[in-house]
């Protein structure tokens, strides 16, 4: 290389750009405090204040909590939340475990497709599943009528605990399936082979080796299902009837009495339950370390006996059928002109879609705008915080992780209450605006981008950034030219999860929406309550198809199975 060119290269230095890191860091801290920490802390404070009084040291009281000991409705709601949460978790686990074993350890075809199909219940809002069960098992439901005609029996009512537990279990069982199946697939096959060489039979290996190995993963997934189930609002509000749980109780405190203090207290109890489950989850996750992930990429040998294969095929497709039955029923109902409890509709029509088109365009547009803007905010904020968490020399990394993960696991109703209390009065009034919805969406979903990108950055050699700096790039340039392009698939995957799950978001929306900013989920909710199931089905089908297509596209771009996006 000619030495003459050197002077030209050194003369063209650009100034350093590390102020970009500083500015971003500061704005992240600001957003975290104002929109994540403050609302939650404020709601927790209001829980200790009597309704109608200003918060002050003297007015702190436990009166709002006393109702959990005095009022029958409070006692029952607390108990019902725990009871339906535990029951739904157990049912989901019972459904998912054999399926996880079958996909990981039995030689059946379409294993990737089976995994991908389990994603459907996760991306369609749980309450869509709930009203499908009304169509099937309600008083004039298809199955109810069918059973009555052929056997004379009257099925027990779907409203109340059985329906709530069934719908919750079918909505959230994929978490158990995906996590346990992943653990089974990752376990070192040599361990099972060693047991085999030692003389153990299949059944014995399952009992003494395989199940103990995946127990921590199973326990972790069960806690996730429990956290999701006790935070769900849509299912109990549609199928619960008289069966009140904590989120519906919060809803009625606000819609019935606008008693923010009482709602905050209920929310605090709901938070407490969630935190206990989170604590248990982090304990289980620490224990998960002993699970050996083999250095070998060889897959475990799969059972290939005809009996095992018959069971595997039958079981997996049966569960898949039951799990996506609600979506199928809704799709059918959306085209049904008349469906008077017969097996299939008597005649078909496109009227419901026309009705949706003429009357419900504004909720669809609203949802797209709100979810779109919230997703954009999540991308920026989630990526930056993920970088800070994965690379930064933060002493308080756990605090950052917790701040991002907490609103993610908290029930939507709790986030709704927190935002109502924080931004209904005071320096920043946002209630009734689109901004409050966007912010609530952002807080509840930023963890999707955060987790996805943090995992991706963990896979990127930090030396790449060193190399970029040595070549002369500042922090901002290194981000733009090296890190973001490499993390792009993960950013996209996270963003699509955010967007697709926001289209049907109801539990925070139901407290924060205004007449001007009514969303798809609220429109469906009102239609279901108004018994206009056919129109609700049409808009529900549109939502599900839209989100499914998005998730499919994202998984293609990220080069993964759809199921991997949710693991």
């Amino acid at each position: 290389m000619p030495a003459a060119a050197l002077s030209a290269s050194t003369a063209a230095w650009r100034p350093g750009r590390d102020w970009a890191a500083l500015a971003l860091g500061l704005s992240v801290a600001l957003v975290t405090i104002v929109f994540l920490l403050y609302p939650l802390a404020n709601a927790m404070l209001l829980a200790f204040v009597k309704n109608g009084e200003a918060p002050a040291w003297a007015s702190l009281t436990l009166a709002n909590f006393a109702r959990f000991f005095t009022a029958a409705s409070y006692k029952r709601a607390l108990w019902n939340s725990i009871y339906s949460g535990v029951a739904a978790t157990l049912l989901a686990t019972a459904l998912a475990l054999p399926m996880a074993y079958a996909v990981a350890r039995i030689e059946i075809p379409f294993r990737g497709l089976i995994s991908a199909m389990t994603v459907v219940p996760l991306i369609s809002p749980p309450f869509i599943g709930a009203y499908a069960w009304i169509i099937l098992l309600g008083r004039n439901g298809t199955i109810t009528q069918f059973v009555h005609e052929w056997t004379g029996w009257t099925l027990p009512t779907i409203y109340g605990p059985p329906g709530v537990i069934l719908a919750l279990a079918l909505s959230y069982f994929p978490y158990v399936f995906l996590i346990v199946q992943g653990a089974l697939a990752a376990a070192d096959p040599h361990i099972e082979e060693a047991a085999r060489m030692a003389g153990a039979g299949r059944a014995r290996i399952l009992r003494t080796i395989t199940l103990p190995l995946v127990f921590p993963a199973a326990a972790a997934s069960m806690l996730i299902v429990f956290i999701k189930a006790i935070g769900d609002f849509g299912v109990p509000s549609i199928l619960g009837g008289e069966f009140q749980v904590l989120p519906t109780l919060i809803y009625y405190q606000i819609h019935g009495y606008f008693n923010l203090n009482a709602a905050s207290a209920i929310a605090a109890v709901n938070v407490l339950l969630t935190l206990l489950a989170m604590l248990a989850l982090s304990w289980v996750n620490r224990k998960r370390n002993f699970v050996t992930v083999g250095g070998t990429s060889r897959a475990a040998t799969r059972l290939a006996s005809p009996g095992a294969r018959a069971f595997g095929n039958l079981y997996c497709w049966l569960v898949i059928f039951i799990a996506i039955l609600p979506q199928l029923v809704i799709a059918l109902a959306s085209f049904a002109a008349r469906w008077p409890g017969t097996m299939l509709p008597e005649s078909y029509t496109l009227d419901h879609y026309r009705a949706v088109w003429s009357q419900l365009t504004s909720p669809i547009v609203n949802s797209l705008i709100l979810a779109g803007v919230a997703t954009a905010v999540c991308i920026v904020f989630g990526t930056v915080t993920a970088y800070a968490s994965a690379r930064g020399r933060l002493r308080a990394r756990w605090a950052l992780d917790l701040t991002i993960m907490l609103p993610f696991v908290l029930p939507g109703l709790v986030v709704g209450v927190a935002y109502l209390t924080a931004f209904n009065s005071g320096p920043l009034v946002l209630t009734g605006t689109a901004i409050i919805l966007v912010l609530a969406y952002f807080t509840r979903r930023v963890a999707f981008v955060f987790r996805s990108v943090a995992a991706a950055i963990g896979q990127i050699d930090p030396k790449l950034e060193d190399a970029s700096k040595i070549c002369g790039a500042g922090w901002g340039t290194t981000m733009r030219r090296v890190l973001v392009p490499l993390a792009a698939p993960a950013i996209l995957a996270g963003a699509v999860l955010v967007f697709s799950t926001l289209i049907g978001e109801i539990s925070a929306t139901v407290l924060l929406y205004s007449a001007k900013w009514k969303t798809i989920s609220i429109a469906i909710y009102e239609l279901v309550l108004g018994d206009q199931l056919a129109q609700a089905s049409a808009i529900g089908t549109i939502t599900t198809v839209l989100t499914l297509l998005l998730v499919l596209a994202a998984s293609r771009i990220a080069g993964k199975n759809m199921a991997d996006l949710f693991r």
Binding site: A12, G16, D18, G472, A473, V482
Partner: protein, 366 residues
């Protein structure tokens, strides 16, 4: 200038580990002359890579000075130091083509497109990489990725080249080939080079001078020849090349040069008392313990009479040399003797005599 002089003074790096702190680099001082190939050598965890990263600016020093051509570098961020660096993992940008990887540093310097094409082309040519310009790094072999990494570091004509274990990920044959290539390139460009390795053979083969590190300290600095023949500590003697260590007793207090007694009673007068400065020598008393280091190739083994009678345990052919492993009363450990030709009359299980040339023996106190 591509042959800048580097000066490192009392460079120290402490890492906080919980409430305590660990000193990774402890008051390291050395100078690298313009155009010199300077190697930092030591076992893993000895502080050599941390020192290199401080010179690069990727690690902030706790204290000390780094100057390049007299200019203070401590406050200069890495992107403004105009240094080229090659990483052990190569750290090629996996989303950019080979051309774009090499062009990266030039683009940041705002050089126009035609000039970038010309200089990237020239550098790729220098390293025989032209056919791969449009490929992505994943499509290249380890050796080729290594070359791309070099090209990326050299293309913007840095003042200095830093290499962090650049050959560690290559197989044995390629490693030897690449080290010769790197050395030849360095000579041709005359670029000041700071090299880090844990491989003593590699270090002695390519370096003008080398610095041996142990537990954060620079133990010895010198040409490969100096360090091999006059290792200043037992650690350096053991780390560089192969060595025999014989326990000895000092014969006369205060004047170690008067001689030492081997375990079998033989007397020896080693000429080099490397570690014994005057003050330490004065404290020596007759009967103190010491260690004599002698290289296997300096020992003579024969059937004739010598200093130490021994028994031949094993004879191994190791490529170009023959290693005799012998046992004797002079040392509890086996002694290695290496020759290039087979010794007549020496067989496994037979008796023999060792001769220890005092001129090649190095004495250490304890």
């Amino acid at each position: 200038m591509p042959n800048a002089a580097l000066s490192v003074r009392n460079l120290t790096k402490q890492f906080a580990v919980g409430p305590a702190s660990v000193t990774a680099v402890d008051r390291v001082t050395f100078d690298v002359r313009g155009g010199e190939f300077f190697t930092m050598l030591g076992p893993s965890g000895c502080g050599k890579t941390t020192t290199l990263r401080m010179v690069a600016g990727l690690e902030k020093a706790t204290s000390g000075e780094i100057t390049v051509d007299g200019r203070d570098f401590m406050a200069v961020p890495p992107q403004r130091r105009n240094i080229g660096m090659v990483f052990q993992s190569y750290a090629l940008f996996p989303h950019l083509t080979i051309f774009e990887n090499v062009a990266y540093g030039l683009r940041l310097r705002g050089i126009d497109a035609a000039e970038i094409r010309r200089r990237v082309g020239a550098t790729l040519g220098l390293l025989q990489l032209e056919p791969y310009a449009t490929r992505l790094p994943a499509g290249l072999s380890g050796g080729q990725q290594q070359r791309v990494s070099l090209a990326r570091a050299l293309v913007y004509e840095p003042t200095m080249l830093l290499l962090d274990e650049p050959l560690a990920n290559l197989d044995a044959k390629l490693r030897v080939m690449m080290r010769e290539e790197i050395r030849a390139l360095q000579r041709r460009l005359g670029i000041t080079t700071l090299y880090v390795t844990h491989d003593q053979e590699e270090a002695t083969a390519v370096s003008d001078r080398l610095a041996v590190f142990d537990r954060g300290r620079l133990i010895q600095l010198g040409t490969p020849e100096e360090i091999y023949t006059r290792p200043q500590t037992l650690f350096v003697a053991d780390f560089i090349g192969r060595a025999n260590f014989l326990p000895v007793r000092l014969a006369v207090g205060g004047t170690p040069s008067a001689g030492v007694t081997l375990r079998n009673g033989a007397r020896l007068a080693p000429e080099r008392q490397v570690r014994l400065d005057a003050a330490e020598a004065a404290t020596l008393t007759s009967g103190d313990d010491g260690t004599v280091m002698i290289r296997p190739e300096h020992l003579a083994l024969s059937t004739a009479v010598g200093d130490v009678p021994c028994r031949v345990e094993r004879i191994q052919l190791l490529g170009g040399l023959i290693r005799y492993t012998v046992q004797s009363a002079a040392s509890p450990a086996d002694i290695m003797v290496e020759t290039t030709r087979a010794l007549p009359g020496i067989a496994e299980g037979a008796g023999a005599h060792l001769r220890i040339p005092a001129a090649d023996a190095v004495l250490y106190h304890r």
